[in-house]
């Protein structure tokens, strides 16, 4: 956030400005100093030599390792996102259903898959599919299924809080013109909630993309695994893993920027303003209104998994 709007600091006067300028220079020197120390240490250990960095800039590195790895990462992420949205819509509306049984079952499913680590699910499905000869690529399927179950549950909570954040008048109007509860949900509330939760959905895409890297542990040949294989062959894991990390960072950073733009773009477009309210439009601000749904949506993009 910009300094002028900071709640902690008043607009600086001449003396404070001088202090800030000095602090700025000292800070810059310290940061640059740490970076220089790390670089010097790497240089001392011979990690900056072209023998180690050179192999990365060959066509074989990219055509045989990085790009196929990236392709596998994106493929798993794409399937997982589509599945997760479907899963989230089904169980999110399930939690809003009028039937108590459906609500309860959806609640248990969502809470269960949100609490179990994705890696445990991946290993379980990988071994299960492997033993039962499901599909040609058990590792790929395991990555996708585990990501769908976890992220679908997160999206189900987004759906629930998205509908919860709509003005009450929306569902009342739907019921007043004679729609049933389910029809109101499907044709009035969900379409608005979906638009409002679009930024949070894009943020969730970052989580999906990052978690595909867990596939490395079950030998799915995604970007991290490809980088590691290439690095083992050339004994330059440090360099190749750094490249893989940069690829992940660039993609995720672009997605985060897209989510921020969407949130700004959509904030004036959704019903009653409440839909784009703090819970969803701006994940950095907790709603404080309570309810587990709100607490989840509040940190939609700050979820660390």
């Amino acid at each position: 956030m910009s300094t002028q709007k900071s709640v902690l600091f008043d607009a600086p006067g001449p003396r404070a400005r001088r202090g800030i300028a000095i602090g700025n220079v000292v800070g810059a020197i310290v940061v640059a100093g740490i970076a220089a120390l790390v670089l010097a240490e790497l240089g001392r250990k011979g990690q900056l030599s072209w023998d180690l960095w050179g192999p990365i800039f060959t066509s074989s590195a990219w055509l045989d390792y990085f790009l196929p790895g990236l392709q596998n990462t994106l493929r798993a992420a794409a399937w997982a996102v589509v599945g997760a949205v479907v899963f989230g819509l089904v169980f999110g509306s399930g939690r809003l259903a009028s039937s108590r049984t459906v609500r309860w079952i959806s609640g248990v499913v969502v809470e269960f898959f949100r609490a179990v680590p994705v890696l445990l699910m991946m290993i379980f499905f990988w071994l299960l599919f492997g033993y039962n000869d499901v599909g040609d690529e058990p590792a790929f399927l395991a990555v996708v299924v585990a990501l769908i179950l976890y992220n679908g549950s997160v999206i189900a909570e987004l759906v629930r809080s998205g509908v919860g954040n709509l003005p009450k008048g929306q569902s009342e109007a739907g019921l007043a013109i004679g729609l049933t509860g389910g029809q109101t949900l499907r044709s009035i509330q969900l379409p608005q909630a979906l638009i409002a939760m679009l930024p949070a959905l894009v943020s969730q895409l970052v989580v999906v993309l990052k978690d595909t890297a867990l596939g490395q542990i079950i030998a799915y040949p995604e970007l991290l695994r490809a980088a590691q294989t290439f690095g083992n062959g050339n004994s330059n894991n440090l360099q190749t893993l750094a490249v893989a990390a940069v690829i992940f960072i660039v993609i995720n950073w672009a997605l985060t920027a897209l989510a921020r733009w969407l949130s700004r773009y959509l904030s004036g477009r959704t019903s009653g303003g409440a839909a784009a309210g703090p819970g969803i439009g701006n994940p950095a601000t907790p709603t404080g209104k309570g309810g587990p749904g709100n607490a989840i949506a509040a940190t939609g993009d700050a979820t660390a998994t």
Binding site: P117, L209, L224
Partner: protein, 229 residues
Amino acid sequence: MGDFLSQFAALFAEYDVPGAFWVNIQLTFWAAIFSLILGTVLALMRISPIASLQWAGAAYVNVLRNTPLTVIMTFLFLAVWTQLQISLSDDFAQNFFRFAVVGLTVYHAAFVCEAIRSGVNTVPLGQAEAARAIGLSFLPAARLIILPQAFRGAVAPLGNTLIALLKNSTVAAAVSVSTETSTLMREMIESNANYIYAIFMTFAIGFVVLVIPIGLLTTYLSNRLAVRR
């Protein structure tokens, strides 16, 4: 059925399941403390008026938050330990445990930083203006008015980060911490494939039992401490 159960129970004599969860809890405990310290420092850098520190804090958060935890862990194992031959302990197992704590710490510190910052952002500007209007200078205003409210606003995101940290402690498998849950579950299933469902459910329910109380406590505290505006 009784046969199934007794043989399944015998697995617990053979494998130390509670011990594996204990390793994950220990990883979470140390990483939580260190990431809280590092995250607070980063948050202070990001909300300070000093541009170079803001920039460094933002760069750290954007880089670490967008890197998969598995990449960080693999990097620590293959690049830092194998290639640079930096070791954190002479004891093999202890060394990997410490690397796992380092990996979890640097990753989650970025989220702790954002949680604290979002807490500060919940405080309306009017609070600071009111504090100055009644004559409080910077430190008293921060200590008495702004930080108490900021802390209350940060409870929910911090709790969610803690839950994520506990679940992510399973990724320690990528730095060869061989005693934690995901590795043990894999070993158990691989040598007892006919109990695959029961073994998975045991570990899954173990995590549900650990995670749900933290979630309930977070929700309770954040509602209880919420500043009504």
